[in-house]
Symmetry: C2
Subunit: 318 residues, 2 copies
């Protein structure tokens, strides 16, 4: 016998993630009731993952549970926010208890690791669709934004770029190392790094659609342009091998799905940025500079412009 | 040429609903940033509407925009909360600008009427799926809940029951009055009524799945049972006609989709409840009583038990 919607939510999601004292009422009523710390602003983001668009059919549900939450937490990271709560709107073609348990396990493990509690949700029948909203806090007025980049700012990225794109481009290729595949399936939201950058970065965004596309959003919102130096882009050895074998910089520049942070830092804070870079386990690498001239220029060390065949992935693009 | 995802969100949703000063950063960054009034708790709910499950294919998009938001605001009403912000995760099979404009119009009109601002969202491609999260405030500790019903409480409902069910059961029947059809397509969230009931009601829920099912949630959460007197159920004339013609009470008892509030009120507050009932334009009608004995009994005036063929609608029920 299939479970009713109500029992489905209760059973799988009533105790998911951390258990927080600021949750006055969690899963099981019409709404959740939450207490916000004094002096903080609320930071929220909602993102949807659709089967066949954002992930393959028959994707491993535990990895999917992790990734669905991770891509949302990455948005909180890009604001420098402390994560707190999540809601989950899950549309499922059928009730598969094994699938649900595995999804919940992946979701809950990542949630607990970042002190996030699942506070509510909705479970409906239909084509597989996962919408998650995350909620966090920032000190009032301190959120990192897209529109704060200034002329002369140095552009940095956390971690490495291109691994997720490589895994995506070579689906099912056993030669792709497990560590590279995990960068696509199990992205790490850079929450600790985002919070450390509050007060230092002028602007920040997470790289979901590709560096060019997402840095482009910073440039558009801030009314500036940028130059990137492609040899400075932090990449794993397999991505470097791919670039050199194919003379193609698209993996780190436009493949997306890495969920690293791209930030701009004023040059007078270079020393502070370098100290942070040494502290960040994932690294923090300078890759270019904010300039007045609109658009994003990608140059090699000898000053040649890099040609790109495609910009970041966008839904509905013609 | 199709619009890119980014411009889609910006163009249609950047200025939807009210414009609120507590929105520090709205649509267009990785997250929205929001300021909560001192002394208030945050109240949130997320709900999904799926084509073919919650609404028919080719539904009028303007009415769908209204209804998608209304069913979510109804959850805030059931908590006695003041509405403030909404996010929208919209999965669309294709970009249809006329459809989007109409959807946005229906959504925005209702949002503005309740001082709700759209603060963020995500637009993706896939089978039509609408997830909306609403956010509101309650004075700390004052939220109406499901688990507060007590022995002897009087059970009340706002408005009338069964119209939406009648419209659903007689799809395309031109004999259904427009006012009844609107009760299905354009439900009115009882926000003002819910707020007026704070401090008076012991428990509250909104009737989405049907009175028996939703009152059942109050009873389960509160560890009580209930008796309802079916002739007291507030119904429109067409619903009364249907009941008597078919000797079938299922429309007001289990059809759902009315989005009225069901609340329990202690008997010592009867006079206060009657004063409110006179104030509510939609009405507030006593229909039964909370009792110790588990389960919900539906009785006629002469003490006969009413038999029901089905309880409220639940997804995935076998």
């Amino acid at each position: 016998m299939a479970l009713s919607e109500f029992r489905l939510i209760q059973r799988f999601f009533a105790h998911t993630g951390a258990s927080r004292t600021d949750v006055k009422l969690g899963v099981g009523d019409d709404c959740a009731v939450l207490s916000l710390p004094a002096g903080k602003e609320l930071v929220v983001s909602i993102d949807t993952l659709v089967e066949g668009v954002h992930f393959f059919e028959n994707s491993d549900p535990e990895r999917l549970g992790h990734k669905s939450l991770a891509v949302n937490l990455s948005d909180l990271a890009a604001m420098g926010a402390e994560p707190a709560w999540a809601t989950l709107a899950l549309t499922l073609p059928a009730v598969d208890e094994d699938w649900l348990e595995a999804f919940c396990r992946g979701f809950s493990r990542l949630a607990a690791a970042h002190n996030v509690q699942l506070i509510g949700g909705d479970t409906t029948s239909g084509p597989l669709n996962i919408s998650i909203q995350v909620h966090g806090f920032v000190t009032a007025g301190a959120a990192l934004r897209r529109d704060g980049a200034q002329l002369g700012d140095l552009i940095y990225v956390t971690g490495r770029l291109g691994d997720a794109g490589l895994a995506l481009r070579t689906v099912g290729n056993v030669a792709v190392p497990a560590a590279v595949q995990s960068r696509l399936d199990l992205p790490t939201p850079r929450l600790q790094e985002g919070r450390a950058l509050v007060g230092l970065a002028h602007a920040a965004i997470d790289i979901s659609d590709g560096l060019i596309s997402d840095l482009g959003h910073i440039c558009d919102a801030s009314g500036v342009g940028a130059t990137l130096y492609v040899e400075k882009l932090p990449c794993s050895q397999v991505v470097r091998d791919y670039i050199h074998a194919n003379n193609d910089w698209s993996l780190p520049l436009s493949a997306g799905d890495d969920y690293e942070l791209c930030i701009t830092i004023p040059p007078e804070k270079l020393a502070e940025a370098e100290r942070l870079a040494a502290d960040f386990e994932c690294g923090l690498t300078p890759i270019g500079r904010i300039e007045a001239s609109a658009g994003i220029r990608c140059l090699t060390a000898d000053g040649q412009a890099v040609q790109l065949s495609a910009s970041g992935y966008e839904h509905f693009s013609s």
